[in-house]
Subunit: 455 residues, 2 copies
Amino acid sequence: MASYLASNQERFLTELIDWLCIPSVSADPKFQADVRKAADYLADRLREVGLENVELCETAGNPIVYADKIIDPSLPTVLVYGHYDVQPADPYELWDSPPFEPVIKDGNIYARGACDDKGQVYMHVKAFEVMMQEDGGVPCNVKVMFEGEEEIGSNNLGIFVKANKEKLAADVILISDTGILANDTPSIEVGLRGLSYHEVEVTGPNRDLHSGLYGGAVPNPINVLCKMIASLHDENNHITIPAFYNNVAELSAEERAEMAKAPHSDEEFKKSIGLSNIYGEKGYSTMERTSIRPTLDVNGIWGGYTGEGAKTVIASKAYAKISMRLVPHQTSDEITALFQQHFESIAPSGVQVKVTPHHGGEPVVTPTDSVAYRAAADAMETTFGKRPIPTRGGGSIPIVAMFKTELGLDTVLLGFGLDSDAIHSPNEHYGVFNFLKGIETIPHFYRNYAAAMQK
Amino acid sequence: MASYLASNQERFLTELIDWLCIPSVSADPKFQADVRKAADYLADRLREVGLENVELCETAGNPIVYADKIIDPSLPTVLVYGHYDVQPADPYELWDSPPFEPVIKDGNIYARGACDDKGQVYMHVKAFEVMMQEDGGVPCNVKVMFEGEEEIGSNNLGIFVKANKEKLAADVILISDTGILANDTPSIEVGLRGLSYHEVEVTGPNRDLHSGLYGGAVPNPINVLCKMIASLHDENNHITIPAFYNNVAELSAEERAEMAKAPHSDEEFKKSIGLSNIYGEKGYSTMERTSIRPTLDVNGIWGGYTGEGAKTVIASKAYAKISMRLVPHQTSDEITALFQQHFESIAPSGVQVKVTPHHGGEPVVTPTDSVAYRAAADAMETTFGKRPIPTRGGGSIPIVAMFKTELGLDTVLLGFGLDSDAIHSPNEHYGVFNFLKGIETIPHFYRNYAAAMQK
């Protein structure tokens, strides 16, 4: 007889696709009504599968969807976190199909949010349905909290968590917003990088000028900005901000050797993103550069004439968005202050520089010797047939550090995405295999965890 | 009794304003119909003032408006050139009044094209009217040729001129597309810089990437582009492109001393554009930097996420528009090739660079000992009460060099704009004083020139 999951998988996919049609872009105010619509949709589905106390908790921004199922106060409680907001979808013209008209093609669901994080959140909703139907209920208490501002810094989540410690009391936090190494190589992320994100503005003359009449005699803010950005890395791709590396935790030779065992090929890595050559900080491998080392990247730049044809203008202003990924034991506040101070200090006289920090997040390392981690690893071993490898990821989930500080809880990062899912990019997608594997794996986690905690 | 000009100046202004309402932006295809409308308007006004053989000469792009008045084949002929197309008006939000809804405020006409070049072209149209009414006609033969593609490189004008040498035969060319030092300091430009304008594209990975998952391990095309641009100037603001200065004509100490006599204050210059400090190529004054020295400026840059909020992306591509102003005896072809070769050569391995030259123009120096130059200088002395100073301008009118090559004709640059007119910028304007002074001065030029040539 087919499992409940096998019998219902088409419907599960259809429900996810309906949800992905709602453009819940949190960064752009014009999608505000859609963000709320996506929250309502999620709340309705949580009610349908049998969760209780479902509510939209209002914040100064987008609502937090809360629900729970308390079966016995003496049993342990799992708090599930995720987010229903998505990244902006531009540039739209690079999508093969419209970002908010999901299609399934070659085994993947293509849509903005398919993986990050609506697809992964929806695995949890359906895992509850599976447990309710197959086991007659969940084996421990569960609480869920899905926010709508993860892609813009989770500011209101922090306020909500601080104000609702009782309501959110639990034993562990479970999040699916990360990935595995490959569909035949399960893994669990045990480290995440922090973030410091800034917008910078360089002002030269007080109005746009004709480059023929003024060129050569005034500081051109675009040239100045390029020079300032170029100076942030030295010839070895080390970051030049003074004191930037002071608190970076250096790994031992043993730890680096252990990391090097994870399957990785620079040739395949290059091929997967169409690069003939890669480089980064001197003295570190690709895996290390994207996990244990801090980085600085320009995420956007603009200024002057960017339309068709030629305009001979010297712009008054030039802008960039610049972010740094942080590692233990750097802190977001420390690096934000260092960046701001340094960037202002390198401005040549005659131009004005404004640095506006957007949001930050703390780097984090989660334990691999906890009951919850073992429950997750065992669950994956059951469904994948292979023990998952613990890995350190390059991305940031700033709220993991915040949960530790505010709620005293460790997190298990039970994610099912792939690096090739193109999250934050055109043609974001999520494997149907991965979506269904998540729904299959999560109930095993609950069963393992509840059983181990009762011993 | 009031002069004809004084009695009709209100109507002259109204006609100009009607013309400025037509957004004849040549760089943007969506204004194509408006460009033609502006050409039709100009042709109608030329017919009204009594010019003959008025026609729109079709090209592969926008039409050239031609007209003439041949009074006697044995008399000399003046060929007037100008352009009825305008620069794009963006950023629109920085205009105090809409760019295509002209207003007169504090003695200035505010509109895109008010000065560059519709306002200056219209002085010629009305100068013909003044001569017809006051003198009963023009004192020599005249031909006019107004193009609609000056702001995008005048490619079709070159083709038209080559194909119509007979039709355009003349003794001198007269252009009003430059400026004077101040309303109480008339001047005539006798030198112009050339131009080499490029769009560059830097491609890193073949799709946008998540900066957390990939940051630190791949070449970020925005960071790379910044580094490449930063390297184009050294610490003395010399341009680093090999062989760039090889053909630059160095001025003698005497010539530089002569230039330094023109009224200029760095303090006033800084104040006029809101800069606390200025700098440029070491060893040269502000006046020299904007006239006798070549320059390199970024006119526009873009890439990655430029919307509201934060997006943690590594872009696949980054772009810039980069132009160089050239001086005698650099040539546009030479510098275009040097730039392209150098910019491609400094790309780090792993990224691809594409350089697309937009258009170029040759630097030029016009004679100050010609009959036509003296006729223009005498005309200005009559109407301003002061002898004009010969100056070398920083802008480019590439067609001046082309007219010399193709038609064998020198040009007189009888312009009436001011540096503060904000051409190519928001709030472009043209002084009512300057517009009327132009209409007053131009007939004197014809009278002086015709008289001197008949001696």
